[in-house]
């Protein structure tokens, strides 16, 4: 197998140039998908037979929750690569993920509370699903705090990477909490083996939002990665070319 592509990913100038080139290809489709998802979710999708128009919170709650998990898996994978291969760029990817993941975990928790109050009758319960999602927010915040607390960049990279890798056990706990334990939260409607539990007119806006948020994550990650790489490669000569505009 040819591993050149992998080794090229370890080269900061190559990664920087790649990020510059790729960002618009994620950013604009993301904007389109999210705009279409908002329009179809708020206007075109029919109301639910039980929850009426209140179920439309689904279109912001589920994509935020999806981001909270997907970003964490990306972060933990990058951190593991950084630990095993001593790859600086991988650590930069992990560091770029954390604030994005933390903010969308916060959005998932807040939109969930706003959905739970009218439907279940409560903003918050110490339920397995809700509690494990809150633990995820603290993992992100702990990761960011740890990085900020260690001055030596290399030590910060390694220590925070260990935390990210250890914390990945929480991801399956969150996903399966609703099946392993009695939970107030219902089972997944889309992320399951069976057919999605809603008709196309309700499903399409959700898929648009999920795709839009995922593309947005890619664009945000690439932008943050450029900033990280620039800040880390203090002495490199290639920097002169990319900032002298």
């Amino acid at each position: 197998m040819d591993w050149t592509w992998f080794h090229r990913l370890a080269s900061p100038p190559h990664v920087y140039a790649l990020a510059v080139r790729l960002t618009p290809w994620f950013a604009w489709p993301a904007a389109l998908c999210i705009a279409a998802g908002l329009w179809s979710g708020l206007v075109l999708a029919p109301p639910d037979y039980q929850q009426g128009d209140g179920f439309r919170i689904l279109y912001v709650h589920a994509p935020s929750a999806w981001m909270s998990l997907m970003v964490y898996v990306t972060m933990a994978t990058a951190a593991a690569v950084g630990l095993i291969w001593r790859m600086k760029v991988a650590h930069a990817v992990a560091a770029s993920c954390a604030p994005i993941g933390a903010s969308f975990t916060f959005a998932a928790l807040v939109t969930g509370a706003l959905w739970g109050q009218p439907m279940w009758g409560t903003y918050w319960q110490w339920d397995p699903r809700l509690t494990s999602e809150l633990v995820l927010l603290f993992l992100y915040l702990g990761y960011m705090g740890l990085r900020a607390g260690i001055e030596d960049p290399q030590r910060a990279d390694r220590a925070s990477a260990v935390l990210a890798v250890v914390g990945v056990v929480n991801v399956p706990i969150i996903h399966y909490s609703v099946t392993w334990w009695n939970s107030l939260h219902q089972a997944p409607s889309v992320m399951r083996l069976a057919k999605p539990a809603m008709p196309f007119a309700m499903l399409a806006p959700l898929l648009l939002m999920l795709l839009g948020f995922t593309l947005l994550f890619a664009a945000l990650l690439l932008t943050r990665l450029r900033a990280e790489v620039l800040a880390r490669e203090r002495a490199a000569s290639w920097i002169r070319e990319v900032v002298s505009v």
């Binding site: 639910d48 929850q51 009218p118 220590a159 260990v162 334990w181 219902q186 409607s189 008709p199």
Partner: protein
Amino acid sequence: MTPRRRRLALVLGIVAGVSIAGALALSAFRQNVTFFFDPSEVAAGMVPAGERFRLGGMVTKGSLQRPPGSLEVHFVVTDFSHDVPVSYTGVLPDLFREGAGVVAHGRLRADGTFVADEVLAKHDEKYMPPEVARSLKRRHGDSRAEPTAPATASSGSGG
């Protein structure tokens, strides 16, 4: 202490810390397996006497009673092998329905009635437009697909 040893100690300390936190969280969840008890568990005496706990199950169809002129409601929670009568005073959540899931928090009275001070509705993962639910009900008599008009928040506490 060499720098390498210090790094090692730091990493080990973090691993230990997170493991302890994880174990604590998991043991908390194990208690939360009892996030609710179902009526069979209550009938089997698995609930400590006189203590507050959550009762979860389905609201038996036709069991909901409201004595006129008060906020008091009576209904029966079932898991289709055992029943527990519940009495509650207060506002019910919008998704509270006969034949749908419910989680009530309260105490068991000596006469076997569960006196709840909080009633939460539990819903399933299915979403569908009202017309689809109505035609499903006509064709299959699906108990979940009740053709009730979408409830409005104005009947709830936080409209």
